[in-house]
Symmetry: C2
Subunit: 321 residues, 2 copies
Amino acid sequence: MHSFEQLADLFKKRFETKHFPATPQSLYESCDYFLSIGGKRVRPVMCLMGNELFDEINPDAWYVATAIELFHNFTLMHDDIMDAAPLRRGMQTVHTKFGNNTALLGGDVMLVVAYDYLNKINNTYLHKVIALFNKTAREVCEGQQLDMDYEKQQSISLDDYIRMIELKTSVLLAASLQLGAILGGASEGNRQHIYEFGRNLGIAFQIQDDYLDAFGDPQKFGKDVGGDIRQNKKTFLLIHVLEAANSAQKKTLLQLMEENPADKVQRVLEIFKACNVDEWAWQLKQQYMDKAMQHLDAVAVVSSRKKSLMELANFLVQREH
Amino acid sequence: MHSFEQLADLFKKRFETKHFPATPQSLYESCDYFLSIGGKRVRPVMCLMGNELFDEINPDAWYVATAIELFHNFTLMHDDIMDAAPLRRGMQTVHTKFGNNTALLGGDVMLVVAYDYLNKINNTYLHKVIALFNKTAREVCEGQQLDMDYEKQQSISLDDYIRMIELKTSVLLAASLQLGAILGGASEGNRQHIYEFGRNLGIAFQIQDDYLDAFGDPQKFGKDVGGDIRQNKKTFLLIHVLEAANSAQKKTLLQLMEENPADKVQRVLEIFKACNVDEWAWQLKQQYMDKAMQHLDAVAVVSSRKKSLMELANFLVQREH
């Protein structure tokens, strides 16, 4: 059994290889560049962990993990175009550096190369692996579309927002774990539990992310607090406060969002606190985290095998505040 | 054995089904809309013909044919964004009707659904089918990138241009035939011959397309003659004339391309004719057509099974002018 860090190190070493042909350079340099920006490689490691939960690592798990990471990078390349984002991890995005057309085509070809890695695995689980990969890929596209739709709408229900987050973020974490479990020969029941662990963990993680943007310690959080508030970004907190606030608070809030005064962040936070949004968010996160852990508990393998997944969950989502 | 028309009718009936979920409508209506624009469905029919060349139609060939047509439509949706094309077959393109972001995401999800159809086939040929499909998909992306690169360059060699056409257009025709052949249990040698038949036929078809734009009978051709010349589009004819013209002709040509006078088409055509570009193009097309037919001849099945492929070749590429 390996820890998250050990698997991350092993995966990063293997991933540092040429994934694309040399020519046409004008196409593939965009892909090489984007991968060179790096990342935590959480999803492929979750695939390896989902695999090791049930057995020694299956050599095919490295291929599937690579396919997952390439798929994830394909979605980021295309999302950056759609969001017109100039930077990612402090580096120029592909469309900023190479133009929209090359970023579009580079993303397309990266998705195809992801399928090339999937196609390297043994016949036994090929159909099952591709079926789950495809379902997840469709859902991630649906999540991105809903995200764009919701940004244009004045109000969304919390349920709709959670469903969007689930599609855009959680299902890929869940599928990464389940793809590993499939390759580990897990039973249908165990596969479902590990998927639900990942799905709930993903939602808890997103709630925490939204929480920290508003209430995080700037020193620990490592980025500017209040960025979401400044941009009127729809978050768990904003959606809840629009449901929970009284009419005077709601009116002030909508005015602040429209007028963007200099003290906007501070004043929105005051309304958040008056409505107990911080407590509410922390408890909602705890609920999803508890559900995640119940599903991990229910996986029918000895608990010693679950140690690194528990560590991962507690690393991604702090249980104390 | 079926004729091209029979297979086209059968395929079109089967293809008229829901390929996408109902929601989110904002995503999938773009896919439904694009497919409703229609098309000749040449590629899926070539898959069925490549299959029937060797055996009764394998039920899996319908899935692969569907995947090929969805893949082709995915490339068109994304190409239309890159080319900023307002219309396709007289209808609004997806990005014009629904916006660039939805056209991008709609294309992505259409590619994923293509892989869903591939994944429906039997285990026996799954690896082989996906491997050829992926290789072809990569090549089509490479062809589109080269096409965009070449549009920006002042001059390209004929060899480079042919390679671009091969990637952008021919390989998908060739692969459609070969995918059918794989499902028909064709030998490695026969698979290669049918691929080469399609590859050479595709190049011959493109040469003819370029030829007709300049020298076609407007009544028979059905579209405005000289469109490529007006747009300075790089074609077989333009690339050859820039190599074959004397320095005076070349100078006039470049001037016409820069200044776009009202009589541009007529004057460019005069230079084309003075350089015998029409004869040259017709012969080049004939050479590729001959190569295609040699490969079809070499396929080791009784010649009666090749009848509909011969008809298709002669329908796509006229041998007389």
